[in-house]
Amino acid sequence: MSWEINRDRCLRCGGCVAVCPTQALELTENGVIVDEEKCIECGNCEKVCPVGAITVGDDE
């Protein structure tokens, strides 16, 4: 499992939450959290994030 977020970049806009097909993400007061059990590493959240805060899989 590799879903990572750069919390310094994240603006807490919820864009990633909206496009997650498995409801693995949630926007909380402390930023976005992932439910690793649910994440299927589809990459949607990484693509849509306006600031590039999320990295899924091993592209980098």
């Binding site: 864009g15 097909p21 849509v48």
Partner: protein, 388 residues
């Protein structure tokens, strides 16, 4: 037991809550953020026709600047000037506007609570579990209205909404800037082109006194981020060199994927939670408030009859599609065609079209004119037919 729990105190949630409270229903609105309206996820533009249609009496302190038109730039720098002698729209301050909307709901009798997060639905959507200061409690109600915006997990829970198709979402990013040279302080500036904003555009929305929201919305499935494109646009423009950034915003805009069904038993979704935005410019304030008004009418009747089943609430689907959905569907087609255009096509159109044409197109009117023009571009014939 409450009559209605509304999840989310954005424009859509506060609109439906106000109307239902005015009818005498016992309504509570939960908002998870500590401050309603902040930080904004919005360029803050609202047209005068929307304000009239919605019957909103927006106080002056929420209206930052009046607009009388727009300057639309094609990739080669040519521009189309849209001008009206009257005010055609406003740039709002969402922080105060959203709070004003919440105040209206509260004055009508609804109970609004900030920093209260809805974490689950009760069985049959007869209420919610809400978390306030770390404590969870059950709040029973006759029905639930989801107005949680794009990230509405509540709407997802009922399977009314799925937004995982990246082709129909835009990724947005914005700076509120001050000390900026504006071309015209009463006109929106819009910039198109593959270099500037692939399958989208850059906007400059003046907020008065050399302030503006400078933002971008681009297709959600690109390799580079919205931030990347906006930063480049700003770097390449000398006139931003003296400007300062006073706020940074981002967000996702559901520019496609209008929903046929927005209800379940004892449940309705309004606003961004139901993908109700204008597919061409991404405006959702008007759509959210309008949907709230329509939903309240249907909910009010259903509550009175004591029948809030899906079958009864489906009237909302029909009414919304009749009033908003059909015209938004036309605009959606326009969007599909625009996405097929390359820079040369855009430059060509900028020469052939005037301000009135552009105004009409964004409302889904006279699209056949655009279709006919595109028929003259051999590789655009297929797209052109969609508009004829």
């Amino acid at each position: 037991m409450k009559d209605v729990v509304v999840v989310g105190a954005g424009p859509a949630g506060c609109s439906v809550a106000k109307e239902l409270a005015e009818e005498g229903y016992d309504v509570v609105v939960y908002e998870k953020r500590q401050e309603i309206g902040a930080p904004k996820r919005c360029g803050e533009g609202l047209s005068s026709s929307a304000v009239d249609n919605l019957g909103l009496d927006i106080p002056e302190y929420c209206r930052m600047q009046s607009m009388d038109g727009a300057l639309v730039y094609s990739p080669n720098g040519d521009s189309v000037r849209i001008h009206s002698d009257e005010t055609v729209g406003w740039i709002l301050e969402r922080k105060t506007f959203d709070k004003w909307m919440a105040e209206r709901a509260a004055k009508a009798g609804a109970k609004v609570r900030a920093k209260a997060k809805v974490v689950d639905l009760l069985p049959e959507n007869r209420g919610v579990v809400v978390e306030i200061e770390g404590e969870r409690k059950k709040v029973e109600s006759r029905m639930v209205i989801a107005a949680g915006g794009v990230e509405s997990l509540i709407a997802k829970k009922t399977e009314v909404k799925d937004q995982s198709d990246l082709e129909v979402v835009d990724s947005g990013y914005q700076y509120e800037m001050v000390n900026l040279d504006l071309k015209d302080e009463n006109k929106l500036e819009l910039y198109f082109g593959d270099e500037v904003a692939p399958r989208g555009y850059v906007w400059v929305f003046p907020k008065g006194e050399n302030k503006a929201n400078v933002g971008i919305g681009i297709a959600g499935d690109l390799d580079e981020t919205a931030k990347h494109y906006l930063d480049r646009f700003i770097e390449n423009n000398e006139r931003f060199s003296k400007a300062s950034i006073v706020e940074v915003n981002s967000g996702m805009i559901p520019v496609g994927g209008l929903l046929e069904n927005m209800v379940a038993d004892n449940f309705m979704a309004v606003g961004d939670a139901a993908n109700q935005v204008n597919p061409i410019h991404g405006g959702g304030i008007r759509e959210g408030i309008k949907a709230g008004q329509i939903a309240s009418e249907v909910a009010s009747r259903a509550l009175e009859k004591d029948d809030t089943t899906k079958e009864e609430l489906e009237i909302y689907n029909h009414m919304w599609w009749e009033e908003r959905g059909k015209s938004l569907r036309k605009v959606e087609k326009l969007r599909e065609v625009l996405e097929d255009l390359d820079d040369e096509d855009l430059n060509y159109l900028a020469k052939k079209l005037d301000g009135q044409d552009l105004m009409d197109f964004t409302q889904g009117k006279r699209l056949s004119k655009l279709g006919k023009l595109l028929l003259k571009r051999p590789k655009m014939i297929k797209s052109a037919r969609k508009l004829l």
